[in-house]
């Protein structure tokens, strides 16, 4: 614990720093970050070719050709210098802290990767007469900036007025959402396809996450994130339209090829499922460890109604009808499974749902009733077709050539949009309040006249229906439906997506699902380590951001102990301590 505190700079070390140290520290950190970006990072030529952006003395070979992660370090460093000396923005401490963590993360990831590849610390220090201290300087630079930010005053996140003329608000929203689109496209493609052909995909992607995190943290510190979300709240309809258009425009960006469309579609399917799970776990507070089974039920129902040769039920229904049936059947089974769990709470409920998940997987594996194809799965599910166009074919819209699979992507975007609307409309309604009340205090909820049994079954039903719908799309997209896709690990990953993103929020579930299902793709090259890295990342995130990446207003208050001003309780305490030091009195004791 103390090590972690020290690590995060908020413990003893942070307290020894005085505000006077802030500027020199951040300035030194900024300069070092810039220097680090220009230094060589590797002492040898990596076996698989140079590490991206030729992490050697390239700047001197080709001036101004700093690219990739080194460009990011350079930009973050420059931003830290600008914020320190030129633009003394409100919320400066938070901006600097985020920038510092960004520099630190990028440098550390590269350092670890290069060290691992080079077989020792020689790879990032000096070996055979070649020196390469880039990553170490970068790590130090990041830490200095963070410490400097902590030494200074961490002021409140500023609130910007949302009283803008309509056109200005619309412009800001369009710029913001196009920015998000650009970020999503870059993040999808960062490092390229994982796997043997591209051993650098993992570290580049992780380093990009460091950059994105630093950038978003800085924007949050500036109050921009809050401002945009307040604006979009105010102009809700407009925001939804722009967001939808941006999502549909993804195939036009750098992510516009068949591979990324497939990845994006898969993410969409899991995001839809995660939102469904969010009803059960995030709103009603029912811990469900067998949730992916409902997605499986949807997939197998759709497979059986698709006219696939291997399916036992040889009925060939049009896709929309089959998808609706799949959703309905999953929902009914959800309600049936939910009813015996009404008498159990908490841990016991988790065990019961876990058992249900296992029953489903084992039944599917053993081909119960011949409906699941057992270990052969149900292959050959035909593609969805509309007007003679199969959904996996490339299409041309208004002269723009779109890659194959784009129609599946469009479909999942619309479905996720619809599911978001369902979630939001349920959350802010009579039944949504009842769910949250049950989560908060079941006995008190009953005393308020809520029939808790009925409400819980409704939560299971709603969640399972959405999962079933997602499963139907999943089966058609993959063109096969196998029990292997619906194992316990998937349930856990979905649950992790919901908790990681932030319980009870829509963007949280989508972000969580994206991260958790993209990471394994990108870390393919580290097959033996990827679950390790994955687990480690989860632990770190939960330690430093227990409320999730995009928390609910109240979740934030509960888990991060934040006060109304958006400060953490720790920070408030530090402030109090500072004031006690300033005011000499009976309380002002030892340092």
């Amino acid at each position: 614990m103390t090590i972690l505190n020290r690590f995060s700079g908020s413990g003893a070390l942070g307290r020894h720093l005085k505000p006077a140290h802030a500027k020199p520290l951040t300035a030194a950190g900024g300069v070092l970050a810039v220097v680090a970006a220009l230094l060589p990072w590797v002492t040898f030529l990596l076996g698989d070719g140079a590490y991206p952006a030729k992490a050697t003395l390239q700047f001197f070979d080709a001036p101004f050709a700093v690219e990739g992660y080194r460009l990011h370090v350079l930009l973050l460093g420059l931003a830290a210098l600008v914020v320190t000396f030129v633009a003394k923005t409100p919320g400066r401490g938070r901006v600097l802290r985020a920038l510092g963590w960004g520099v630190f993360a990028i440098s550390l990831i590269s350092a670890v990767f290069i060290t691992g590849r080079g077989g020792g610390l020689g790879a990032i220090t000096a070996a055979d007469g070649v020196t390469a201290f880039g990553s170490i300087v970068g790590v130090v630079a990041g830490l200095l900036i963070v410490l400097g930010a902590k030494a200074g005053h961490l002021d409140d996140i500023p609130e910007w007025s949302t009283d803008l003329p309509r056109w200005a608000a619309y412009l800001a929203l369009v710029v913001a959402f196009v920015g998000v689109l650009y970020l999503v496209a870059s993040m999808l493609t960062a490092g390229g396809t994982g796997g043997a052909s591209n051993p650098y995909a993992g570290p580049i992607f992780l380093a990009f996450l460091g950059m994105a995190g630093g950038l978003l943290g800085a924007l949050n510190g500036l109050g921009v994130v809050r401002w945009i979300s307040a604006l979009s709240e105010k102009h809700r309809a407009f925001s939804i339209v722009v967001l939808l258009v941006c999502a549909l425009a993804l195939p036009l960006t750098s992510a516009g090829n068949e591979y990324w469309m497939t990845v994006a579609t898969t993410i969409g399917v899991y995001a839809a499922t995660a939102i469904g799970l969010n009803i059960v776990v995030g709103l009603a507070g029912l811990l469900d460890l067998g949730y992916v089974a409902f997605m499986g039920i949807g997939a197998f129902v759709a497979a059986n109604l698709s006219g696939a040769a291997a399916a036992k039920v040889g009925i060939d229904l049009p896709f929309p009808l089959a998808a609706l049936l799949a959703a309905a059947i999953a929902g009914v089974i959800g309600a049936i499974v939910g009813s015996p769990t009404l008498r159990v709470r908490g841990d016991y409920l988790a065990i019961v749902t876990l058992a249900f998940g296992e029953i489903f997987t084992k039944s599917a594996q053993n081909n119960i009733g011949g409906l699941t194809g057992g270990s052969n799965a149900i292959p050959g599910i035909p593609n969805v077709e509309v007007a003679g166009t199969a959904f996996n074919e490339p299409i041309t819209v208004l002269g723009a050539d779109l890659p194959g699979g784009v129609l599946y992507y469009f479909m999942i975007v619309l479905v996720v949009g619809a599911i978001m609307a369902v979630f939001a409309n349920l959350k802010n309604s009579r039944i949504g309040r009842a769910w949250i009340a049950i989560r908060e205090d079941e006995d008190a909820a009953r005393a308020m006249g809520i029939k808790t049994g009925k409400a819980k079954i409704l939560a299971f039903l709603a969640g399972a229906t959405l999962a079933g719908l997602a499963g139907a799309i999943f089966a058609h997209k993959l063109s096969t439906s196998s029990y292997e896709s619906f194992k316990f690990l998937e349930s856990v990953t979905l649950l992790a997506a919901v908790i990681l993103g932030g319980m009870g929020t829509i963007p949280g579930a989508v972000l969580g699902a994206s991260l958790l299902f993209v990471l394994p793709e990108k870390l393919r090259e580290f097959d033996e380590y990827r679950l390790l890295v994955f687990g480690l990342a989860l632990i770190l995130i939960m330690r430093f951001r227990p409320q999730g990446l995009m928390p609910d207003r109240v979740r934030r208050a509960e888990l991060a102990g934040e006060t109304a001003g958006g400060k953490s309780i720790e920070e408030e305490e530090e402030l109090v301590v500072e004031h006690e030091h300033e005011a000499p009195g009976p309380k002002g004791g030892k340092a």
């Binding site: 409309n425 009340a437 205090d441 008190a444 308020m448 109240v554 208050a557 509960e558």
Partner: protein, 284 residues
Amino acid sequence: MSITDNMAAAPAPPVLQAQGVTMVFGGLTALNNVSLSLGKGEIVGLIGPNGAGKTTFFNCLTGLYLPSRGRVLLDGSQLAADPSKVTIAGVARTFQNIRLFPNMTVLENVMVGRHSRMRQDPISTLLRLPAFHRGERAARERSRELLEFVGLTRAEHEVARNLPYGDQRRLEIARALATDPKVLLLDEPTAGMNPQETEATRQLIFAIRDTGVSVVVIEHDIKFIFGLCDKVSVLVQGELLVEGTPEVVRADPRVVEAYLGKPPEEVEADVRAASTEHDTRGEA
């Protein structure tokens, strides 16, 4: 103490009636043949030493327990042993240890109380049809009225857990009132309050009574009970010892004796001291 006018009013037919309620846990008889009758607009107090069975009796009234013998009637029809059905029938309650929905806002807490008094069908909820908005608006307006009634309008958008203690108690009352009860059961509404807050609570309970709601109060603070209630019932070791107006109960030697055989002034001090232990120990 000037509630004699009220007592003089013609007795209304009982709203809530407990008839011979007996509750046996294993071999322990927690309640033995306890009866209670509550008229419209009446305030009845329930007092007794620790472990006398007050909370058990409360739980029988609110449907948490099904009495082993005897029955509880609301307007002449028997109440089900299911807290949600009891609430829907018109008996609302607060809790001894405040049990709000801590992470919901003040307004949302009260709106949860409206749950059983509003209808929303799934179609209009999902599609946000006009019927949905009408229902929500009505629930929100009624909830705001209640918040104004208990004096929490300013805190409408605060998260419930951040409210000061006294405000949390008042919010619990507003939430209970949102279920449109005929009878309101208050479980130690002034526990942990200072004298000013206690007096404000007393005025609030009178105001509730004036809207036609009947009130049952469990309390340790005897002075508070005597200054508030039209009738007082004293429970001792699971049995109803005395029942009557505050004057009658106060004068009854058995009550004095039950409270350690001391005159009322000292009894009061004793009971106050005991009530601080009460939370940690709980009751049978």
